[in-house]
Amino acid sequence: MLFRERYEHELRLIRGSQAWVVAGLAGALLVALPFLVKGYLVYNMTLFFVYALVALSLSVLVGLTGQVSLGHAGFLAAGAYVFVIATQHGFPYLLAVLAAVLVSAALGVVIGVPSLRLEGPYLAIATLGFGLAIQQILTNWRLVGASTGTLVDRPVILGIDFYGDRAYYYLVLVLAGFVTWMLFNLERSHVGRAFRATRDADLAAQMSGIGLARYKTLAFVISAAVAGLAGALYGPLVGYITPEGFNLLLSIKFLLMTVVGGLGFLPGALLGAGFITGLDLVLSTFRSWSQLTFGAVVIAVMMLEPAGLYGRWLKIKQFWKSWPL
């Protein structure tokens, strides 16, 4: 089916029997993966899930509403540190995660409301400043270990110990998978359509009864909350967090994920996160060449395919389906 003919069809998350087969196989593969590959790959897959969450959150903000953020590592850091503080105060795991999400969402309001008046380069620099400011505040805050950082333990929930890489993989898979599903649903709801309307023509959207202030702030809040959740998952994964780890380069990498994957497509963010995380992993063996190669790949994607990897995939798919037209 090349074109969507009915609204029910548009609403469906998985369209057509082929897609069901692919989704089923992908799901089965993700569940079976820890028993198929070596330990360090399980760790990196978990890292990919966490990065994919941030890339998705950024995709909602940049791709759907067209607001740039160069400071998403700040939200990730906020989530990770709130999670640490909450667990130190004896919060149970899920409450600590919830606290991380809520604080990060609150930060999203703090950044989102002033940024209503900003656009383009001004917003980019303001969010860049937010990321750097968070990093510097954490560097100088002794309660959370200042620049030396702090240890993060993996959780024990209802007597089940998630210390092992495999066990933690499943925990992250469930939480990240659930949020990914919610975000994909959000994109197809009236909220997602409102987001895209504000991106494409804010004045026209306003004329159609979409409250710009409300939806732009909402996008920031959702994005910050998801990035905060990613932070709460990231801390226990790496085991030791330092402010230095949440630097500008990380924020840039998140933006690269969404754009290289395909701006405006949520599956593109997943693809981009996989691509960048994989590239990082492959390049980590050639240390001195890694930064140059990384930059060159990014330049190549931007020069050759504006719609990103997912956009290219859509073109191939359409060509295949409509062939020989």
Binding site: R117, S290, G295
Partner: protein
């Protein structure tokens, strides 16, 4: 040191670092208002020029008066190449796409510098042998005075270029309306190439002047670049005088905050200022809002 001396000292040192910020911010604004590109590779373009100067000074043992202009020429060439080989042929010509392109370029250039020259800190020879001059309780380093003066000279040169030459007028015309400029028969491509060259020269000059205060390494320009962005945004991204004003305000305020409030939060203070300014004036102090026609 008395309180007044400390205050004057902060003002003078702030003005000195402000000139570096101003050169960075001018380059960013020059490019942004003509091409709508937020150039994150600006710092790395400057560092590349500084590495050229470093090679000329230490390997070929050229005098400073020769190495400095040659490095600026090399930077201009790099800037033109970036425009011709990367920016013009890029298929993704959206504002965000080009921003990402410059991010990729920044990573690639930084990686290249690290590969060729290594990541260790290098001492760059200075224009004059450094001496500390004392005026009452205020002490000034000779290098920082010369740096500030050179910065001001370069700013004046840019002003003269834009105001009194045909190329400058063409640059301003392209910045205002690219399509009309093209219709009037201006060679837009050449003008854009010249803009890239001029921006790269400003970047290299800023890096060359900044190198003696820190040490030369591939990440040297990270802090001045982010401060340059802040200065440009405070002043307004499409106003060249705004960039200079923003840079000096930022340089001086930073040192005053370090002196009277808290040394630790000196660096994050810049971003507090930017948020405050943007909340009150979303298009900077001297910038003008883009008029959107519907």
């Amino acid at each position: 040191m008395s309180g007044l001396d400390q205050f004057v000292q902060a003002l003078v040192s702030g003005a000195s670092i402000g000139s570096v910020y101003a050169l960075v911010a001018l380059g960013l604004v020059l490019l942004y208002r003509t091409t709508r590109i937020l150039n994150f590779a600006h710092g790395d373009l400057g560092v590349a020029g500084t590495f050229v100067a470093y090679t000329l000074l230490t390997q070929l043992r050229l005098p400073f008066g020769l190495a400095f202009p040659l490095a600026l020429v090399a930077a201009a060439a790099i800037g033109m190449l970036v425009y011709l080989l990367l920016v013009r042929p890029a298929k993704n010509q959206t504002e965000l796409g080009l921003l990402i392109l410059t991010l990729g370029l920044a990573l690639a250039l930084g990686g290249l510098d690290a590969l060729v020259f290594g990541t260790d800190n290098k001492l760059v020879p200075t224009v004059v042998a450094d001496r500390i001059l004392r005026f009452g309780g205020v002490s000034l380093s000779l290098v920082s005075i010369v740096t500030s003066l050179l910065g001001v000279v370069l700013m004046l040169a840019l002003w003269a270029l834009l105001s009194f030459t045909k190329l400058g007028v063409a640059m301003r015309a392209v910045a205002q309306r690219e399509d009309v400029a093209e219709a009037m028969g201006l060679p837009v491509r050449t003008v854009l190439m010249a803009t890239w060259a001029a921006a790269a020269v400003l970047a290299a000059a800023a890096a060359l002047l900044f190198a003696p205060t820190t040490l030369l390494n591939p990440n040297m320009m990270l802090d001045p670049l982010s401060k340059g962005f802040v200065a440009a945004v405070i002043g307004g991204m499409n106003s060249l005088p705004g960039a200079v004003v923003g840079a000096y305000i930022l340089g001086i305020l930073e040192l005053l905050v370090g002196l009277y409030v808290s040394l630790e939060f000196k660096a994050s203070f810049a971003f507090l200022v930017v948020v405050l300014v943007l909340v009150l004036r979303p298009h900077g102090l001297l910038g003008r809002a883009d008029v959107k026609r519907v």
